[in-house]
Structure formats: structure tokens, C-alpha cells
């Protein structure tokens, strides 16, 4: 058989011009695009997506906080400083009352009556200053659950009872919102990863079977996916998570919720996997492998999976925000994780109370943590999707 491929068109499409420009840029940097392995090409592509790069850095910071939340949080998230109920975010100054610039510091802040509005609030006493320091001693904890220490990322040397530094204010019990958000990151952000992992396992198995075998198996799986997606998710999740026994410990509720979210989440993964499988089934290298007598399992695992792995990773990244949002919504309704567990959704329950919301709008800060992480995942996902196929023209 002769090569039946059409001769490429001489005029390049805009895409080709763009990738040509990319190649040129990479080449001019002394990096050889023709001998670079695929992961390097992907990295070069990804690097071009500015928002994705910024978002990736943000996500790394967020996950660092989640892993080392005891270290990042200045206070124990459950410690309540009753003298700081509804305290607003502590103002950090770099200029003192005399107009001199100093290292970042805070003034002694105390509950008092505002002389102008005659309302109870927090007033700064400009005679007493506390400089903010890094690596200050605070409450005892075990780093990574192993190393006992009491060093925290930042804070003032004084105990919280005397003068607290509340970056995002304090809630109605005088608990530090920043510390609580840092702790909440651990559950909220990890739940996204675990949920997506379970969805992936289900999605790859079912989507793979569906796309690989086709026929009635495909129809059955596709109908199931359509069926699951016609049920409104929140009412379904609400019903299922309400059935989790109330006396379950936090870890079990956590996995229960994750599994419930994955029951819907896998359908999205399965679609992506099936799509790639269908496209790849027709590829020459799959036919070649089959003619060489490779088993079906080997074709799938050794030939097909590596070539669509990058697509899967991109799709996974885009699926995480949905999980985070779902957990937040459920916990917010009181049907997901429950106090004493701390997740962003649990923290937002505080905002349901109109009095809390009006007196201390900073109870909404966990919501912004959710928004930032969701957007960051979306941008990184977009960047990865663009970079997923480095040979695409």
C-alpha cells in the first residue's frame, strides 16, 4: 500500500503559526525541540499559559498550608479568646503614630466604645506595639504527626489571650478565622483529590470498557451515565449524605461523603476516557500491537493509557473544583462534614446566622478560599489541557 496521506497544505493555519512561533522561541533559547521528550514539550507549552502558572503557584501554597496547617496557623483553631468575639481583622501597620516606618507591627487592640459612633467595637491603643515575627513559639503540635514542636510561621510573641493577631478576624466565639481556614484547607482540599481519585478509578474502568468494547456494553454504560446526570445532584447528595449515621467519627463521614460525591463524579471521567479510547482504537500503533499478538490488557495498559494519560490529568484537574464546591455546599447545609471537623463548608455555616454575618462579614473568608482554589484549578486545568498533546498542530 502506498502512503495515501494528502500532501500538507502549504499555507499554515493560525495554530501552526502559533506552534511554529513556540518552537522558534524554544529553539532560540538553546533548547532543542526535536529531541525533547514529551513531558518537556508539555512543560514548555504549559509555561506559556500565564494564568495557569500563577494558579499553579497559588495551589502549591494552598496545599502547603493544608499539609502544614499546624505550622501556618498561629493559634489552635478551637481555642476561643472570649475577649475577641467578632474581632475584625487585625490591622497590620508599618508606620507608627510618630510617622516612622518600622517592621510590620500591630497595636494593642481592646474591646471598647468607639468615641464617635458610641458602638462597641475594637479600638487600637497606639502606645503599645507588638512587632510581628516569623517562627514564633505557640501551641504545641506534631509536625506531619511526627516531630513535636511549637514553632509557628508567624505571630506576636505574646499569648493570644493578651494580644492576638487575627489576619481574617475572629468569629462569634473569638476563634481565629485564619487558623480555622488553614485547618479547613486540609479537609476541603484533600477531599477534592480523594474524590477525584475514586471517580477516576470508576471512570477509567467503566469508560474504558465502554469505549474499548463498544456495542451493547457501550450503550449500557452511556445510558447509565445519562441517567445519573438527569438526577439533580444536590438533592441526591443531600439525601444520600443525610443517611450517613450521625454517630460516625469524622474520618468515616469524610470517606462516606467522598464516595457519595464520586458516585456522580465518575460519569464525567468516563466520558473523557471513552472519547479518547474511541479515537485511539483506530490508531495505527494499536493495530500494529494487535497484529504483533499483544493481549488486550497489554494493548490497553502499555500502548493506550500512556498516550492519553495527559488528557486524563487535565480532566482530573478540571474535576477537582466540582468536588470542592460540592463538599462546601453539603457541609454548609449541615449534611456534609460536621463540627468539630473543620472544613471550609463547615466554617461557612457560621454565615447562615444573619447576626454573625452582619456583625462579622469576615465569616465569609472561607468562601473566598473556595473561590480562589476553584478558579486556580480551572486555570491550571485549562493550561494542562492545552499542553496535553504536545504533538498537536
Amino acid at each position: 500500500m502506498t502512503d495515501a496521506r494528502p500532501i500538507p497544505d502549504q499555507t499554515p493555519t493560525p495554530d501552526q503559526v502559533e506552534s511554529q512561533a513556540l518552537d522558534d522561541e524554544i529553539l532560540s533559547g538553546g533548547e532543542n525541540v526535536y529531541v525533547a521528550p514529551p513531558w518537556k514539550l508539555m512543560w514548555w507549552r504549559f509555561r506559556k499559559h500565564k494564568m495557569a502558572m500563577v494558579s499553579a503557584v497559588i495551589l502549591i501554597l494552598f496545599y502547603f498550608t493544608a499539609i502544614f496547617c499546624e505550622f501556618v496557623a498561629p493559634y489552635d483553631p478551637d481555642a476561643s479568646f472570649i475577649q475577641y468575639k467578632y474581632a475584625p481583622p487585625t490591622k497590620i501597620h508599618i508606620r507608627d503614630a510618630e510617622g516612622n516606618f518600622r517592621a510590620p507591627f500591630i497595636y494593642q487592640t481592646q474591646r471598647g466604645i468607639d468615641p464617635q459612633t458610641l458602638q462597641i467595637g475594637y479600638v487600637e491603643d497606639t502606645t503599645t506595639r507588638y512587632t510581628i515575627r516569623f517562627f514564633v513559639p505557640g501551641f504545641e503540635y506534631k509536625l506531619l504527626g511526627l516531630i513535636p514542636t511549637n514553632i509557628h510561621l508567624f505571630g506576636v510573641p505574646e499569648a493570644g489571650e493578651k494580644q492576638g493577631v487575627f489576619l481574617f478576624g475572629a468569629d462569634r466565639l473569638g476563634r481565629d478565622m485564619f487558623s480555622r481556614i488553614a485547618y479547613g484547607a486540609r479537609l476541603s482540599l484533600s477531599l477534592g483529590l480523594v474524590g477525584v481519585f475514586i471517580s477516576l478509578v470508576l471512570g477509567v474502568i467503566l469508560g474504558g470498557i465502554s469505549g474499548y468494547f463498544g456495542g451493547w456494553v457501550d450503550t449500557l454504560v452511556q445510558r447509565t451515565i445519562e441517567f445519573i446526570r438527569t438526577i439533580p445532584t444536590i438533592p441526591l447528595w443531600m439525601t444520600l449524605s443525610a443517611a450517613l449515621p450521625v454517630d460516625w467519627p469524622i474520618t468515616r463521614v469524610y470517606f462516606g461523603i467522598t464516595v457519595i460525591l464520586s458516585l456522580v463524579g465518575w460519569t464525567f471521567m468516563a466520558r473523557v476516557v471513552r472519547g479518547r479510547f474511541l479515537a485511539m482504537r483506530e490508531e495505527d500503533f494499536v493495530l500494529a500491537a494487535r497484529l504483533n499478538g499483544a493481549t488486550e490488557m497489554r494493548i490497553i495498559l502499555r500502548h493506550m493509557v500512556p498516550s492519553f494519560l495527559s488528557y486524563i490529568i487535565a480532566a482530573l484537574t478540571l474535576a477537582i473544583p466540582g468536588m470542592i464546591l460540592a463538599e462546601t455546599g453539603l457541609s454548609f447545609l449541615g449534611l456534609g462534614l460536621r463540627p468539630p471537623a473543620i472544613s471550609w463548608g463547615v466554617l461557612l455555616q457560621e454565615a447562615m446566622n444573619l447576626r454573625s454575618l452582619v456583625l462579622s462579614p469576615w465569616v465569609l473568608t472561607p468562601g473566598f478560599a473556595v473561590v480562589i482554589s476553584v478558579l486556580a484549578f480551572n486555570f491550571v486545568g485549562d493550561g494542562l489541557r492545552d499542553a496535553a498533546d504536545p504533538y498537536a498542530r
Binding site: I234, L240, T328, L348, L357, L364, G367, L375, N378
Partner: protein, 329 residues
């Protein structure tokens, strides 16, 4: 066309059957037999309930019998007698409680769907025809915010500003005097005055996706030869865009209407709880937390079935517009 509709309706039956099973499982999920806890609850409140009445109720729901018997009793009650079971918490038949709330949820979701299209389509078309313009970037950023900010957070923020800046309580769907009033023209007008806030919040969530879909699809269409041809023939740009490529680009909108409805109902549930609207959300939440399972299960069943019917209607409309679909096997 009739054959197509008939086939679609037949296909719907297994779906609805599956939904009913899931709802039934949901009713059965909480541990223990709900009648026992119901009776225990009544007794602790000092109320006396006759053994005969308990036996009657047990018989009615088939408690103590195999699960499939219970399912058949439950589903045949719904289909044959319109009996959705008894709400344990409200001491009323479920069907008396849910009618108006379902209606309001449907109204809220449908209005939001229409509003989100109304916003998303023109913006999406503009973004596609003016690709890489400043407004295109602005719109992209706005739609990203729509993706990232969950509706209930938006509702909380709006509530905070309404409360502190305007001294306005935005909760609820009716003014005080209309809450329990029978339906009348005034009541509908009053509802519309309250409806716009939740509609706007829900529409923003839906719009973001809508803009991106329209933009992406239209960009694919704009490079096709028929557009070039129409332009070469001297058709005005406005007519050219709206009459041909936009119509094709909007197809996915209508074919995924079922999923949009499902996600709108989901979003509406959360927002309704925040804004305490008289829709299904708050009542379902309460039913779930107090394990009033017939009520909770009925909501799941009805909302899902409504989504399926919505999808059916959209499929029929799509087939009516596009002959390729109705003739396909």
C-alpha cells in the same frame, strides 16, 4: 414525528422506574423502621397513639414485609391514588405539603434558565465575533467568576449588603401578608418582586457556562465555507451571523437542556436555603435532618422526574427544529 415522540416516551419509562427505585432506597436508608421512631417520638411528647392506628399505618406501608412488597405498595399508592405517603413531622399527607413548593421551584428554575440564555447568547455571540477584543477578555473574566463563585456564596454576599447598606431583608419569595394567602394576581406580582434576586444569582451561574459554549461553538462555525459564501453574496453581517451560524452553534444548548435543568434545580436548592425561599430546598433539608423520609424521598422523585420530562420536551423541540434528529434511528 409521532413515532419519534412515542419512542422517546417509551425510553423514558425505564429511566423513571430507576429514579423511583433510587428514591425508595433513599427512604429506606436511615437505620431502623421509621414507624418505631415515630411512635416513640409521639409517646415522649405525651401523646397516646392507639395500637390499632399503628397497625393500620404499618399495613398501609407494608412495614415488616419484604422490601419489594413495600416498594410496590409505595409506588402503586403514588401512581394509582396519588398517595405520596405521610409526612411524620408535619402530620399531613405529603401531597398537601409539596404542591406549591414544587411549582415555585419549577418557576424559579425555568425563569433562571431563560434569563441565563437571554444573557449568555448575545454575550457569547459578541465574544466570538469580536475575538480578542477588550470586551471579549472582560466577558471571559466575568464568566470565570461565574464558574468559581458558588451561588450560595453570592446569595450570602447579596444578603449581607442588602441587610447592612439598604436595610432590606431579601429572604423569602413573598411579603409577610402574602405568605399564606391563596393565589391571586397580587400574590403573583408580589412574588415577581422577590423572585429577581434568586433568578439573577442562578442565572449568573448558568450564564458562565453558556457564554463559553456559545463562543466556542460559534468560533468553529465562523470559519466554515458557507459563512464565507453568504458574505461573498453580500448578506448583511448581522443577518449572516444570526441567521445561520448562531442557529447551529446554539444546538448544544437545547440538547443539554436536561442537564442544565438538573444543575439549576441543584443550585436553586442551595440558594433557597440561604434566602429561605418557599421552594423545595429548605423543606427537603428539614425533612432530611428530621428523617421525615417520605417527604424527602418524594422531593427527590418529583424533581428528578421533572428533569426527565424537561429533557423530553427539549428533545421533541429539537427534533421539530432539526429533521436530521427525528429521522435518525
Amino acid at each position: 414525528m409521532l413515532v419519534y415522540i412515542a419512542r422517546r416516551v417509551l425510553l423514558m419509562i425505564p429511566t423513571i422506574f430507576l429514579i423511583s427505585i433510587i428514591s425508595f432506597v433513599a427512604i429506606q436508608l436511615p437505620p431502623g423502621d421509621f414507624m418505631t421512631s415515630y411512635v416513640a417520638g409521639l409517646r415522649t411528647m405525651g401523646e397516646n397513639i392507639e395500637q390499632e392506628a399503628i397497625d393500620n399505618l404499618r399495613e398501609r406501608y407494608g412495614l415488616g414485609q419484604p422490601v419489594y412488597v413495600q416498594y410496590i405498595k409505595w409506588i402503586s399508592g403514588i401512581i394509582l391514588r396519588g398517595d405520596w405517603g405521610q409526612s411524620m413531622e408535619w402530620q399531613k399527607p405529603v401531597k398537601d405539603l409539596i404542591g406549591e413548593r414544587i411549582l415555585l421551584t419549577v418557576v424559579l428554575s425555568l425563569v433562571s434558565l431563560l434569563v441565563s440564555w437571554f444573557i449568555a447568547i448575545p454575550i457569547g455571540v459578541y465574544s466570538a465575533t469580536h475575538q480578542y477584543s477588550i470586551l471579549d477578555y472582560v466577558m471571559s473574566i466575568i464568566s470565570f467568576i461565574g464558574v468559581g463563585v458558588p451561588g450560595f456564596l453570592l446569595a450570602l454576599i447579596i444578603m449581607y449588603f442588602a441587610q447592612t447598606r439598604l436595610n432590606l431583608n431579601v429572604g423569602g419569595l413573598f411579603s409577610q401578608e402574602y405568605i399564606n394567602a391563596p393565589w391571586s394576581v397580587e400574590r403573583v406580582i408580589d412574588m415577581l418582586k422577590h423572585l429577581w434576586i434568586p433568578v439573577l444569582i442562578l442565572a449568573v451561574e448558568g450564564t458562565a457556562g453558556g457564554i463559553r459554549t456559545t463562543r466556542a461553538n460559534l468560533l468553529d462555525e465562523l470559519n466554515k465555507p458557507y459563512v464565507e459564501l453568504a458574505r461573498a453574496k453580500g448578506l448583511s453581517e448581522w443577518k449572516l451571523i444570526w441567521k445561520y451560524p448562531v442557529r447551529i452553534a446554539l444546538n448544544p444548548f437545547f440538547s443539554t437542556v436536561g442537564w442544565s435543568l438538573a444543575s439549576l434545580i441543584s443550585g436553586a436548592t442551595l440558594i433557597s436555603v440561604v434566602l429561605s425561599l418557599q421552594t423545595t430546598g429548605p423543606m427537603q433539608l428539614r425533612a432530611l435532618t428530621s428523617q421525615d423520609m417520605y417527604l424527602a424521598g418524594s422531593f427527590l422523585l418529583i424533581l428528578s422526574v421533572l428533569t426527565v420530562i424537561g429533557t423530553l420536551i427539549s428533545d421533541i423541540l429539537l427534533a421539530w427544529v432539526d429533521p436530521r434528529i427525528r429521522l435518525e434511528k
